[in-house]
């Protein structure tokens, strides 16, 4: 295991494109959340009736402990940025046939896949860490010292980590099966941003919300709309909170299935 970790580190240590996209992730997460936070401050500080009404309706979604939920929700929209890194890491191996060389040099096919699994897990941890730091920073910025019930909703850290790992695993699967970086990136981003959102919306309107079982939506429902948005439809909000539990199970199942497909394909496929 240590050897796999060391070798994967040697592969990415000087891969500047990797670090560039990771830097973009590190900037986008605080950026988008700070933007919403500033908007909220603008809206509520006016002392006008609008501001007071907004405050009354929304509460403060950025104070402890609600910040962990709110920031997890906004950050999760940007998971396609680290997904680009994941797709690059796997498709590069096929483009330059280095996966072949790894096997020739003495890795088993399973070790190669395990190395990539470690990459995806580490990127998920890194992304969760960025989210955690942003949530803490905004929490401390916006909370009054006497109101710091910091960890009451820290379960969202785990939910965010699981969601990120699941969705990055799906990105990995796309890269692993397609093997061509540009096509894999296009397929994933198009599906992530457009196809699934349309399908979920359509199935919600026309059917019994079967869209919740689509691959990305399954883990999307780990982090429902922030509480302040839920106030507009309390019934729905309660239902979405209740759905978190089952969706943890579904997400673990889908993620296991994704890696199962990778394992099976990797064993059977000629390199």
């Amino acid at each position: 295991m240590l050897n796999l970790l060391r070798t994967e580190w040697l592969k990415i240590r000087k891969y500047w494109a990797f670090w560039g996209v990771m830097a973009l992730t590190a900037l986008s997460y605080p950026g988008i959340n700070y933007l919403f936070y500033k908007e909220y401050l603008e809206l509520t500080k006016k002392g006008s009736s609008t501001g007071d009404m907004a405050k009354m309706l929304m509460g403060n979604p950025f104070v402890f402990p609600e910040n962990f939920h709110t920031i997890a929700f906004f950050s999760s929209v940007f998971v396609f940025i680290p997904a680009i890194v994941v797709i690059m890491l796997v498709t590069n191996e096929y483009t330059y046939k280095t996966n072949r060389q790894n096997i020739i040099d003495g890795w088993s096919r399973n070790q190669f896949l395990l190395g990539k699994f470690i990459d995806v897990a580490l990127i998920s941890v890194l992304v969760t860490l960025i989210y955690f730091i942003v949530a803490l920073a905004i929490g401390f910025l916006s909370s009054k010292p006497e109101n710091r019930d910091i960890w009451a909703k820290s379960n969202y850290i785990g939910l965010f980590a699981l969601q990120t790992f699941s969705q990055l695993s799906i990105a990995f699967l796309v890269g692993f099966l397609v093997r061509k970086s540009f096509i894999a990136l296009s397929v994933f981003v198009f599906y992530f941003l457009i196809v699934e959102n349309l399908a979920v919306g359509f199935l919600k309107a026309k059917s019994h919300d079967e869209g919740r079982f689509l691959p990305l939506e399954i883990s999307d429902r780990l982090i429902p709309l922030p509480a302040f948005m839920g106030r507009f439809n309390a019934e729905n909000y309660k239902a979405s909170l209740a759905a978190i539990g089952p969706h943890i199970g579904y997400t673990i199942l889908v993620t296991a299935l994704v890696w199962g497909i990778c394992y099976w394909t990797n064993r059977k496929r000629d390199l």
Binding site: N3, T7, L10, Q101, I103, I104, D105, W107, L271
Partner: protein
């Protein structure tokens, strides 16, 4: 015990039969050439023994054991093209080779880079290397840890004449040190110069196998010329016992089974066919001749 034993290996790509029941043993300390025209199955065969491809039928054993990652770690290999991380330097790439295989050491990386004349460019990115430099880096990777067995697919591909001579010299030295080298090539001259053994493939079939001198020894080659080479070739083709015939410039070559090339009769037969032979000798055979004989190719590789 042979270093490598192949047992009836077959591989199909859809309807195309890439290998059909190929079996042979590679003796320890040999330089074993796998020879064949493009598409004959050389790279497929090497890919199977390195576990990059799976065989449809048959199997192979390294040192009497089924192939495994642990065994592959002991083998230095270059397959088809140099496969390295384009954004890393030559040195960084060999650190990955070392990390995976456990062969060699950090210090030895510099030594093998020196052995293939890449010392000056060891810190340049792989993507900036010329084709020849990439090939030399791949050879350096396979030399790491001085493995007792090396598998080299077209090792002189992309090298200039000096580079080719250097690699041939390197292979000869490795053999003298007791290394076993399995080498695919379509360069007949290369195989003849440096290999001790050869297997000749044709469309996935093994058509000859053994020591180079033995493979070459079972034909006689007649070299002839006449005013009209086309007519001469036609006459030689019709001569009883003649095998494959080919023309090179104004010279015509005809192969015969060992000891079955009666020069006087050939001369008389050609004359009776209206061809006056102006030049007729029994040539020392070259692997090239045997290759064309076996593969039925009519032009040089």
């Amino acid at each position: 015990m042979p270093v490598l034993s192949l047992d009836a290996i077959s591989k199909n790509y859809g309807p195309i039969r890439a290998l059909n029941g190929v079996s042979f043993d590679v003796p320890q300390g040999s330089v074993y050439g796998i020879l064949g025209p493009n598409g004959s199955g050389k790279t497929t065969l090497l890919s199977i023994i390195l576990d990059v491809l799976g065989a449809d039928k048959g199997g192979y054993r390294w040192f009497g054991q089924p192939g495994s990652p642990e065994l592959r770690k002991k083998i230095g290999a270059l397959l088809e093209t140099p496969n390295f991380y384009h954004y890393l330097s030559g040195r960084e790439n060999l650190r990955i080779t070392h990390s995976i295989s456990g062969r060699g050491s950090e210090e030895e990386i510099d030594r093998v880079l020196g052995a293939v004349n890449l010392q000056d460019r060891k810190n340049s990115r792989f993507s900036t290397y010329s084709l020849g430099m990439k090939q030399r880096l791949a050879i350096a990777g396979s030399l790491l840890g001085s493995p007792k067995v090396m598998v080299l697919d077209e090792p002189t591909n992309g090298l200039d004449p000096v580079g080719i001579a250097e690699i041939r010299q390197l292979i000869t030295e490795l053999r003298q040190q007791g290394h076993t080298i399995i080498m695919a090539s379509h360069l007949l001259d290369e195989v003849e110069k440096i290999c001790t053994h050869v297997a000749i493939l044709k469309k996935g079939e093994l058509v000859a196998e053994g020591r180079v001198d033995e493979v070459m020894s079972d034909i006689d080659l007649v070299e002839a010329s006449a005013e009209d080479p086309e007519k001469l070739m036609q006459a030689l083709k019709e001569f009883p016992g003649a095998g494959a015939c080919r023309m090179e410039g104004r010279l015509v070559y005809a192969s015969f089974e060992k000891g079955m090339a009666p020069m006087e009769s050939i001369n008389a037969f050609c004359f009776s066919q209206g061809v006056t032979v102006t030049h007729l000798i029994l040539k020392k055979k070259r692997l090239e001749d045997r290759f064309f004989e076996l593969t039925g190719n009519t032009s040089h590789a």
